[in-house]
């Protein structure tokens, strides 16, 4: 039963990533592209968590944790660069 749920989850997240990619390519402003990248990172973390459930391997959560941190730092760095023209002042 869990395998069916994981398959449904993979399908939903793949479709969600496709929608994010559409906003990333189309987005009229630069903020839309930052939001799309941030959402793609969150959806990728969800996919990694699902892979961890599917393979019953708890190593994947360290990967998810690292990706969460790097994604947050990346989003803040993009925003700071556009706001101030510099990342670390």
């Amino acid at each position: 039963m869990i395998s069916y749920a994981v398959a449904i989850g993979f399908a939903c997240l793949a479709f969600a990533l496709a929608l994010n990619l559409r906003r990333l390519l189309k987005g009229p402003t630069i903020s839309d592209r930052i939001v799309a990248l941030d959402t793609m990172v969150i959806n990728t973390i969800a996919i990694i968590v699902l892979i961890g459930i599917e393979t019953a391997d708890d190593t994947y959560f360290d990967v998810a944790m690292l990706l969460a941190m790097v994604g947050f730092v990346g989003t803040v760095a993009y925003c700071k660069f556009i706001l101030r023209g510099d990342i670390v002042e």
Binding site: C12, N20, R23, I30, I42, N43, A46, A56, M65, F72
Partner: protein, 139 residues
């Protein structure tokens, strides 16, 4: 024993499907809604909540199937719930900054007209004074 296992399976599967559905709804909102300020609502709330549901599902899965109680998942969801509002705030500031500093000038912005140069204390215009709250509320 069998009844317990199947109940845990049902709960885990429901949480996975619910979380994936919330993530999909958030991403659909990102495409569907008209302006950026509305588009921010989808990823910051629905997608983060969906990921939280999936992390709770994985905590239950490892507890039920392997007897491991690991706090990593809760750590991830705590981290995400702390950082999602911060990224949303930064992105909204980028949006307002780009709208206010648009070279075409006469842009209708949700934040009103830009303050005159030199008097604004908005954080994107001037470096915050050391030791003072860099708030926009006094402006």
């Amino acid at each position: 024993m069998i009844a317990e296992t199947s109940l845990a399976d049902v709960v885990i599967s429901a949480l996975i499907v619910l979380g994936a559905a919330f993530a999909l709804i958030g991403s659909w909102a990102l495409v569907r809604l008209p302006t950026l300020m509305e588009r921010l609502h989808g990823p910051t709330k629905a997608t983060t909540l969906g990921l939280g549901g999936m992390l709770v599902a994985s905590v239950l899965f490892f507890q039920a199937n392997q007897g491991i109680w690991s706090a990593h998942e809760l750590l991830i969801s705590l981290f995400l719930f702390i950082t999602a509002p911060i990224s949303a705030n930064m992105i909204a500031k980028v949006y307002l900054h780009r709208r206010r500093t648009d070279p075409s000038g006469n842009v209708e912005t949700p934040a009103g007209p830009p303050p005159p140069p030199g008097t604004g204390d908005w954080t994107t215009y001037r470096r915050p004074q050391p030791g003072s709250p860099s708030s926009t509320a006094e402006n």
